[in-house]
Amino acid sequence: MVRTPLSELRGSEQENDASPPLSYSEQFHKVFPMYLAMGMTYEQFWDGDSILAVDYRKADEIRNDKLNQQLWLQGMYIYEALCDVAPILRAFPKKGTKPHKYPAEPYAISQKERKQKSEQKEKLVAEKGKAMLDAMIRKQKNPQPIKEEKEVKEYADNR
């Protein structure tokens, strides 16, 4: 967050005590580049509503928070990718060692996405349970020697 403390606006008091405080114009020119960097236009800064500067500062704070979150998320993905390939990065891995599967979908960030994902998961579990139940009923009705669990699993997976 870019801050403009009053002491900073007052000028270089510490550097030279005898120097007069900055005039308003000098103070404006001193902070003007900072506001340009925040996206404020020349007209907005000099001729526009002076309150706009406060809004731009708040917006900049939000933007920085968002960027921080994005970078953190990127770090998480990189970390996870490294963890996934870690098994094959060992010096002498066991024969047949494979990397873990990288997540097929991005992380659910928003509340809506999280809800959707949890609903999807619940649905999947319910379907699997139902498939197992169906297989059991079939087995009771038709007591043929079936390949037990393997078939049930295949049936559930196909569902």
Partner: protein, 110 residues
């Protein structure tokens, strides 16, 4: 929205305010902010005239003086104009968090 002073004079509406550009322009013309405190009654007409620059740039000095003469409650007026004049700079200053430890809250007796 920035602080504005509105009034009507001879059927014309006026909206006085300061922008950073008009403040800079006033300083270029010799206006010194600290004079508001030291010699308020001398500074007030210049401050009043400067407030016209943002929205009524082409109003003549004679008319501004005439309006100024007709303005009532001049003591209060100077306070308001000073507040308006300070706004462009004060909006550049970060307000400390009121609840944060160590920050001072204050009250006035008037």
């Amino acid at each position: 929205m920035s602080k504005q002073l509105r009034f009507s004079y001879k059927d014309k509406d006026y909206c006085l305010e300061f922008t950073r550009r008009t403040v800079e322009q006033m300083e270029r013309n010799g206006f010194v902010a600290s004079d508001i405190k030291d010699k308020p009654m001398l500074t007030l007409p210049a401050l009043f005239a400067g407030a016209f620059l943002a929205n009524h740039r082409f109003v003549k000095a004679d008319l501004i003086n005439e309006i100024y003469d007709h303005m009532t409650e001049k003591t209060e007026l100077i306070g308001k104009l000073a507040e308006m004049y300070n706004e462009p700079i004060m909006t550049l200053v970060e307000e400390p968090d009121e609840k944060a430890e160590g920050n001072v809250s204050w009250t006035a007796s008037w």
